[in-house]
């Protein structure tokens, strides 16, 4: 990179927060996406909105590409700079600015870690529901950029359901403020919704205001085994049809169950086809009623085992199998390809079946677990990046799985984003008119195309 440009960059964020050494650039070339890597030209860690604005103005003037990054846990290559540009890491923007208990909002800088916000608001009896798997390290800015979901999505929705306001630095360095504390706000286009899930291609978020809700008073956790996959899937549909919306309704398939048992020995029988982890929360009386109704439904669908946790500790124990699912799978082989094909929840059984058949067809080991309640599955291929033939088969299998998800009325990504990893599948899903509108939006925000180029569209 041009030396005088780097000097100006360092003048903004400080020399110790501007990295250009070989070693740093090498380790900022990846995020959590398997197989993708590309070295940036520089890394910068600004501490204020003002610094972000000055960095963007500088890069805009110099025509240098900028890729925003939080903690680098993206699963679609979104936080990797493929153009040798600047990686802008937001971690130092890490203050919780306000928790407004009258308006039930929290305003934070976007480098704040999701679970840090959880702890702060829960200490006040409030609740911020989005809980992506990486919540202990993911940043709020990253959650907004990817519209992250999580285990509680079924009942409580995803990040976009909570974003009320954003401060966004635009590609030319201008600051855009959208939304606010007013619950009803129809002035102009809804820019918040446009910016959520923009994957760092429209602007860099520096502050986000989110909606909070009261923390549920009671909860009950249940673990259920099913000898038949279809019956487990039917149970999911019947629970919803009975007008019960559990906070959590998670699913593990046979391969995952075996890996979990192998790794954690939690006492799962190896002859079951599916395990459901169900959690209901809310008013204590309603929680009791819902749990009883769920038990009846599970028994009707021939569950072989049903356990309710009596205490918090027991609940944690029951949730172990689901909690360690990814660890158990990841330990099996060196490379783990975690996908997030998502279908309408009525299609869970055919989708899981299809994934299992596709794995067999390509001679692959794929474990599927995930958020059965909202149809968001995580087919996880266990492989070894050194085995190029197997990797190629894995990609072919996932292509078929994405096609099937689209055919069932689902989507190629429920919560990981398009980034570069899913870019080639996007046209199949949104069509030419969808792409045209997205390109128009992109050029309205970023006519020079310097912000996270090569991503999404």
């Amino acid at each position: 990179m041009d030396q005088s440009f780097l000097k100006e960059l360092a003048a903004i964020a400080g020399a110790e927060h501007t990295l250009t050494d070989r070693e740093s650039l090498a380790v900022y070339g990846y995020d959590s996406t398997p197989e993708l890597e590309s070295r940036p030209g520089a890394v910068v860690l600004p501490a204020t909105t003002g610094e972000v604005a000055r960095i963007m103005a500088l890069c805009h003037g110099a025509g240098v590409a900028v890729t925003p990054r939080g903690s680098g846990t993206n699963l679609s290559g979104g936080s990797i700079s493929f153009s040798g540009g600047v990686v802008l890491q937001t971690s130092r923007l890490n203050r919780i600015l306000e928790i407004d208990e009258e308006n039930l909002t929290a305003t934070v800088e976007t480098g704040v870690i999701t679970s840090t916000l959880h702890k702060e608001v829960e200490a006040r009896g409030l609740f911020y529901p989005p809980d992506p798997g990486s919540m202990n390290i993911s940043t709020m800015g990253g959650n907004v950029a990817e519209n992250s979901g999580g285990l509680r999505g079924l009942k409580y929705g995803v990040t976009s359901d909570y974003v009320m306001g954003l401060s966004t630095v635009l590609p030319d360095g201008d600051l855009l403020k959208s939304g606010g504390k007013a619950v009803k706000n129809v002035a102009g286009y809804n820019l918040n919704d446009l910016l959520v899930s923009s994957e760092g291609t429209l602007g860099i978020f520096t502050e986000v205001m989110v909606r909070l809700i009261p923390k549920p008073v009671a909860k009950k956790t249940m673990l259920v085994h099913f000898p038949e996959l279809e019956q487990a899937a039917l149970t999911v549909s019947r629970i919803i049809a009975a007008r019960i919306i559990p906070a959590t309704l998670e699913f593990l398939d046979r391969v995952t169950i075996r890996c979990v048992e192998d790794y954690a020995r939690v006492g799962l029988p190896l002859d079951v086809e599916a395990v459901l982890l169900i959690e209901v929360d809310g008013h204590p009386a309603v929680v009791e009623e819902d749990a009883a109704a769920i038990r009846a439904i599970c028994e009707k669908h021939r569950c072989s085992f049903f356990q309710t946790a009596g205490s918090n500790d027991e609940a944690l124990k029951l949730a172990t199998a689901r909690r360690v699912a990814l660890s158990a799978l990841a330990r099996f082989k060196p490379t783990t390809i975690l996908e997030d094909a998502t279908v309408p929840r009525s299609c869970i059984a055919p989708m899981v079946k299809f994934i299992q058949e596709t794995a067999k067809k390509y001679g692959l080991l794929i474990g599927t677990f995930g958020h059965a309640g909202d149809g968001n599955l995580h087919p996880t291929c266990l492989t070894d990046e050194r085995n190029r033939d197997e990797i190629a088969r894995a990609h072919a299998a996932f292509e078929e799985i994405f096609d099937a998800a689209i055919a069932m009325g689902g989507t190629i990504t429920g919560e990981h984003g398009v980034g570069v990893a899913k870019k080639k599948y996007l046209p199949k899903l949104v069509g030419e008119s969808g792409l045209k509108v997205m390109r128009g939006i992109k050029s309205a925000f970023d006519p020079k195309g310097i912000l996270n180029p090569g991503k999404v569209i």
Binding site: V27, Y30, A330, P334, E385
Partner: protein, 418 residues
């Protein structure tokens, strides 16, 4: 270096929030994921070992909090330590390293004699004068830090005063070996004496072999594999000469190292057997909780616990110490935030990397302060040294004690001085 171990890292980033140096810097190079990537890129020929490369790796505290957090079972801390060991194998030891690691540490007598001037220095009042006049400011900074860490030394090292065999009180339930760590013996002899008394009260005959040598942890730290293996071989043979049900230590650092002797000696059966018998004192006491509980008298004090890395992360012991403290009737136990985060002591890290060590320590002290507890309990001499000094300097009204001291106070019904 096993390449397989490196590629098992799937770069999920789950280790990042647990890494003390990442939390302070937010830099990928200062994170476990980044360190594994650096070593991997060296192995793949993409990076060479430059000064900066080693500088990045040496920022690692080797607290192994990353290993506890890793979903794939990668131990980044250990990988970095191993890598540094391999580099070192080619270079040999420096003059000072040779002096300390080969000529001093493996010889308890010499080690103890080397402390005599320090004891004299403290007793004579010279320490007060030196500190008051700020004379140490004229010497290199590490010397001043080392001097500052040293608390009041006991009259004599415990190794000198403790009988080789301490008989069981009441009916004998078995014989255990006691591995008496160097720093425990030299500086925290009171705590180790409490350990022996507790074991004896529970009906154990305690054998403390006089000739035992340093566990080898300082060698590991200085990447001196030869010294480490010599220590492992010596202690394995020595303890094999006694009929022991288990080998107990009250030093987290020693315990973690002793449990790895089998690994260090490449699966040698005697070393594996030795390692298999090693128990942290909290494990053995917890296994005897039913018989310990009736011996404990009430204590009306507020206590919090700091997990030493070598106990929580390296040995996976978390619940045992907490259960033991809560056996004491009336005790007000308060869990602190980030209890299992490193205190910044990390072997000699607090002397070699004072700036980062102080940041990590500052966070720990703030978390201790928030509990309002008057007693901080822990189980490793490095943490005891580091936290005693920090809390005294900050004028915090918190007393730092070893778990066995607390339990012995409760057993004897002696109210601790405020």
């Amino acid at each position: 270096m096993d390449y397989e171990k490196l590629i098992n890292c799937m770069r999920c980033g789950m280790c990042l929030p647990h890494c003390p140096t990442y939390r302070e810097t937010f830099l990928e190079t200062a994170s476990p994921r980044g360190r594994v990537a650096l070593v991997r890129k060296f192995q793949e020929g993409e990076l060479s070992v430059s000064d900066r490369f080693l500088e990045y790796l040496s920022l690692c505290l080797d607290c192994q909090a990353c290993a506890s957090a890793c979903p794939c079972g990668v131990n980044a801390g250990e990988l970095v330590a191993e890598f540094r060991c391999e580099k070192k194998d080619g270079e040999g030891l420096s003059f000072m390293e040779d002096l300390v690691l080969r000529r001093l540490v493996p010889h308890p007598d010499r080690l103890e004699s080397s402390m005599v001037p320090m004891r004299l220095y403290q007793r004579s009042g010279l320490q007060r004068v030196v500190r008051k006049l700020g004379i140490l400011k004229m010497f290199p900074a590490p010397l001043e830090r080392m001097e500052g860490l040293l608390p009041q030394l006991p009259g004599k090292p415990l190794r000198r005063t403790l009988q080789e065999v301490t008989p069981a009180k009441g009916e004998e339930r078995g014989t255990v070996g006691f591995f008496l760590g160097c720093v425990m013996s030299l500086i925290f002899s009171e705590a180790s004496f409490a350990t022996v008394q507790l074991l004896s009260a529970l009906g154990y005959r305690v054998v403390t072999p006089k000739e035992q040598k340093c566990c080898g942890a300082p060698n590991m730290l200085a990447a001196d594999r030869q010294g480490l293996e010599a220590a492992a071989r010596f202690n394995t043979e020595l303890f094999a000469g006694y009929e022991l049900a288990s080998i107990v230590t009250d030093c987290g650092g020693c315990g973690a190292e002793l449990k790895k002797y089998g690994h260090h000696l490449h699966g040698d059966p005697a070393a594996l057997e030795f390692s298999g018998k090693v128990r942290d004192i909290s494990q053995l006491l917890d296994a005897n909780a039913e018989r310990l509980a009736p011996l404990l008298k009430p204590m009306d004090i507020a206590v919090t616990y700091h997990d030493p890395c070598h106990i929580a992360h390296c040995q996976g012991i978390r619940q045992e110490p907490r259960r033991l403290m809560q056996l004491i009737p009336g005790l007000d136990y308060r869990e602190m935030n980030e209890a299992d985060a490193c205190c910044g002591s990390a072997g000699t890290y607090n002397i070699e990397r004072p700036e980062m060590s102080d940041k990590v320590l500052g966070r720990k002290v703030a978390n201790i302060r928030k509990t309002g507890a008057r007693y901080l309990v822990t189980g490793n001499p490095g943490c005891l040294l580091q936290l005693k000094k920090a809390l005294a300097e900050g004028n915090e009204p918190v007393r730092v004690i070893h778990l066995t001291e607390l339990l012995l106070w409760s057993m004897n019904g002696t109210a601790p001085a405020p």
